[in-house]
Symmetry: C2
Subunit: 384 residues, 2 copies
């Protein structure tokens, strides 16, 4: 593939097919693999200005909208665009849909080329490292050697850390946001509730719902509702909803409709999610997060895992994030300090919980802008 061609005309939306078989952490081999991705901005002639954005569990490649399914804005419009922290006039942004996803990249909803039918639960269980391997195929295909930056929040932050470990020589700078080096017992527990909700839905059909035309929408909606609470904070829920009633003056004393605004909000989160997400993808990607344990997978210690990384790190957490609390970001920082790594760390004061990385947080934007400007200077990238 001719990288120089991309420097002048990178298509806005792409899909590539990798025929070469990929061996996964499970031992399974997957081929072919289709990867859907979006790019924004232009790759420079040195191919030195590429930023890989890693999306979260239920994210996708539509960093900017409109989203083709929901017609809504993209999930990181606050961060990406001309003059934004991830400045599309300066950087070449790549965001692939992760392996196992449901927005075009190979996943359980895809047809298995051998049977011609959807994989369903015959899709191999995947890991964060497998996702990184697939992202690297996109980067390779675009003719890019090393990435100026790998950035992402939540699961995206896990992917950033995996890049900085497995493919450390290809990462110039790394920004893991609201992330962790391993999924905690509490987080595994919440994921398990979601998976059980999906698998309890008779319309899940043992994972083969696609063959039946049914969809486990009720189970997936419950999974989303439970997860969504963990993305917020008690303070944010109190501020946004408190105990305010939904379209009524007093309690209904009935079960037909939500009494409280927070109930109505949650139901909406559930019902809108099922329009755009696949239940089996949820099972596979949540499992990949649960499996993630950077130290265990790379020599037993974090320092062993990160040893040799030359990347400049900016580790970001949010003060009210109880899903990936600041203590977990500090653990990353301590390990990087132990290997004399180049790391800055910022805990952003916010009451918005884990989802703060998707929201309007000026201090967060200033942090990212400042870090990238500094890194770009060291990289010798021209100012816009």
């Amino acid at each position: 593939m001719d990288a120089a061609r991309h420097a002048v005309a990178v298509s806005a939306c792409d899909q590539m097919v990798i025929e070469e078989p990929l061996r996964l952490d499970s031992g399974a081999v997957l081929a072919p693999i289709t990867i859907a991705y979006k790019t924004y901005g232009r790759l420079n002639r040195d191919r030195s200005n590429a930023i890989l954005i890693c999306h979260a569990l239920t994210g996708d490649q539509y960093v900017l909208g409109p989203h083709p399914v929901t017609d809504k804005p993209g999930w990181w419009e606050t961060m990406v665009g001309p003059g934004m922290p991830l400045d599309t006039e300066r950087y070449f942004i790549i965001c692939p849909n992760v392996l196992g996803g449901c927005m075009g990249t190979t996943g359980p909803a895809h047809d298995d080329p051998i049977t011609g039918r959807p994989y369903g639960l015959t899709f191999p269980v995947i890991t964060i490292r497998d996702m990184v391997r697939v992202q690297a195929l996109v980067v390779d295909s675009l003719g890019i050697g090393d990435l100026f930056c790998v950035i992402g929040g939540s699961m995206g932050g896990m992917l950033v850390l995996e890049w900085a470990t497995t493919l450390k020589e290809r990462v110039f700078s790394a920004v893991p946001i609201a992330a962790s080096v391993r999924h905690s017992a509490q987080n595994i527990a919440f994921h398990e509730v979601g998976r059980q909700a999906i698998m309890a839905d008779p319309d899940w059909c043992g994972g083969e719902y696609q063959r039946t035309g049914r969809r486990p929408e009720r189970g997936l909606a419950v999974a989303r509702m439970a997860a969504h609470i963990t993305y917020l904070s008690e303070a944010a829920l109190h501020r946004k909803f408190g105990r305010r009633l939904q379209n009524r003056e007093q309690l209904s004393f009935a079960f037909a409709d939500p009494d409280f605004q927070v109930e109505s909000y949650l139901r909406h989160q559930g019902s809108s999610f099922v329009e755009r997400f696949d239940a089996n993808s949820y099972l596979y990607i949540s499992r990949a997060m649960d499996y993630f344990d950077l130290a265990a997978d790379h020599g037993g210690t974090l320092t062993a895992a990160l040893q040799g990384s030359r990347a400049r790190f900016c580790v970001v957490s949010f003060s009210s994030d109880w899903l990936f609390p600041t203590a977990e970001s500090r653990e990353i920082v301590r390990a990087l300090n132990a290997i004399a790594g180049n790391v800055s760390f910022v805990e952003i004061a916010s009451d918005k919980g884990h989802d703060a990385f998707l929201l309007d947080e000026p201090e967060f934007f200033a942090t990212i802008t400042g870090f990238l400007n500094g890194a770009a200077e060291h990289r010798g990238l021209a100012r816009r």
Copy 2:
């Protein structure tokens, strides 16, 4: 009813039927009402040594075991018994199953006397105050005027606060544990997830599952799993389970069985719960908790609600409880201070989360013992 008779021979397990119609907060009228309750110890001749225990959302009257359904120990064996903090050789303990419950007290699983069929969703929506009214009927029937103490944790603590407000003249001392004066937005949200999980189960049959012989066990199990996480703490989950695998040396890379011990533990919590609990009871009782707002229901302010209480209060919270955090207990204390109430407050240092009130916490037991000893002295109760 002859209270003196109870002083010599209180039956160990009782059920009473109240024929007189009870008007509920919803405006609905309920009759007859059956109330199942357990008593422990003996009522003294002054009828001055009665302690009312208020159980939590999924608790029941079986403070001591064996539980008739599960054959397991009672839920407060750590607290109640001879020589225990709630000393059955000194105090007369009463614990009724709450209105809406499923262990003998009238609830949605009971037959509606008018139709002869289970109430299901025709059962009126109830409140914490309605539950207190029904508890008072038990206390009345036992010939007891005022209670030496009303004590309970979680929803039980809400009931304690309601007693100290609605029936303040009948409460000598009050111990709300891990409680709150109103259910928070986050807690309403978690309850709503549980309710949606139940109602999403096709076996719920619009609430009429009893007529079909089906039971929404999968939905109820998911509700329990989500709730159970909120009863623990991240630290407790980490200490008990961490990322340890369940009966295996390495990750399974499959979905058939749990990989992690915490998943297996949660599934067990779900499946054992459905054996002993009714799904509609879960809907009604969780809703009653969500509706609870002591200030709103009594004059708009907490001080207005509690004004006139002569009770001695002991407010207890647990440091790692994120469902009913210490700040919510402090709010009770502040309101009692504002009315110059008699209140002591203890935050127990514990990493066990909300469920600490059910577990072995020596400092907690010492607090309750000390408080009750002091109150008993003021009450003129003989030492054992």
